[in-house]
Symmetry: C2
DNA sequence: CTGATAAGGTGTCATAATAACACTAATATT
DNA sequence: AATATTAGTGTTATTATGACACCTTATCAG
């Protein structure tokens, strides 16, 4: 571990991405090579690192996100701190920590952040450790306590997306209403009536219709829209809401 | 600092109390005696301590709450982690930390918890440091970064009280509808129409009318009610809500 | 060029939730 | 007996929600 690293505090980022079909999370491969094949293993973890000395939590989260994806100016939000003394005590975790020169007996508190990106904008190959997008509904058996962190991060995203206009962080700048609807459907794991959804979306002033249509699509092209943060700020009456049954 | 204390991680508890008139927060006096009166000072802080080695965050928060108030089985909820490297760098903070034998240069991450109690149930004299209830609307100039922690804790309480039945944690077991309404009003800093409030409260099954009335009150005595967690759990359709304009 | 495929786009109505609003009732105190 | 203080109560207009089905516009295959 580096000289200027704080060994007691880490950040784990739940990086959510939307590919117009499902909600994904960016996972890193954790591969332990060993001559004894009963010890070697390969599984996956969230994106995480220790913070540096004198580094704020937000700065650390942004740095880690940048070092993993090459992205800056990304939506990032802290959602929970995990500090169970046994959170690094799984057998594999101990083997792994020793293999990278860390003492498994040191209690590490990790702060969970979630971040939102459009899947297409991320160069998965950016990171030296193999990174890949995985359907959040299918993820399991992550390293350490990362299953629990992912679960809590997803709950935080669901709560937040119902009360603030963060859905647009997961979409490209120009999007169709069907894409926006699909996004709410996969994030909240619900079905939404198309006509009711469009009615509600269109009566907001901050989802602005462009005089432009989808291209290169094998059916009737849809109208494109943009989210205007300026209009949102200027018109919000204190309550954003996107509740559908 | 104790041998078994983790010097890197602390907990700060925003202990909210309701006295039927306003929302209070429990603060501890921070008094530094010094022969030079320009150095001596006395101000206030939230309730906080470092965690112990091998102690979980939730356990630490419950322990600190108990050690300060003598209370157990109290509603406690983690809301945010604070880790700015300069969060203990106010001049007074440095003097204070040195006076109690701690190194102000060590970065301490603190995890914020809020807890809810009925003001009357707390023996303020329990703690050796002078503790007192203060109107949250009037609190300012707290020690360290505690103003910021209180602000964030209050936001968390406001968010939570609108979507989960935690208001009852701030009331005695038997309460009147006017008390419940007043609680929502002071927590959310809004006015609520009495008839609309009562209509909504009474159409829930889990606020149960008792065949008992207020006593020792100098006006028409009000009917008493209880919150039934069993009925709440059995009947909730996934959405608790208390939204009033 | 025609038919198949695939998603885009549109309106009405019934029900439920919200918000505005003012007077009488019951108790304790003087 | 009068006063002070809070408890308690219904109606109506407006708005939001939820259920529901068909035609349109483009590409592609033959």
């Amino acid at each position: 571990m580096n000289e200027d690293t704080n060994p007691h505090i880490s950040i784990d980022c739940v990086i959510f991405g939307f590919d117009f079909e499902k909600l994904n999370v960016l996972l890193l491969e954790r591969r332990l090579e060993h001559e004894d094949p009963s010890i070697a293993f390969c599984d996956q973890s969230l994106v995480g690192q220790h913070i540096k000395l004198k580094e704020s939590l937000d700065d650390a989260a942004a740095r880690i996100l940048f070092e993993t994806t090459g992205l800056t100016n990304i939506y990032l939000e802290q959602f929970y701190a995990f500090g169970a003394p046994d959170r690094l005590n799984k057998e594999r975790a101990k083997i792994w920590l020793k293999s990278i020169g860390r003492d498994p007996a040191v209690q590490v508190i990790t702060i969970g952040y979630f971040s939102l990106v459009n899947t297409n904008t991320v160069q998965v190959s950016y990171n030296p450790r193999h990174a890949s997008w995985c359907d959040v509904k299918k993820v399991e058996n992550l390293a350490f306590d990362h299953d629990q962190i992912l679960k809590k991060g997803l709950e935080a995203l669901r709560l937040k997306i119902k009360s603030e206009p963060i859905a647009f962080e997961l979409l490209p700048q120009k999007f169709t209403l069907s894409q926006l609807q699909k996004l709410y459907e996969v994030v909240l794991d619900i079905n939404i009536d198309k006509r009711n959804f469009r009615k509600k979306a269109l009566q907001s002033d901050y989802i602005v219709a462009l005089s432009e249509k989808q291209k290169d699509v094998l059916h009737k092209p849809a109208q494109l829209f943009m989210f205007s943060r300026e209009i949102y700020k200027a018109t919000k009456k204190e309550d954003f809401s996107f509740n559908f049954k």
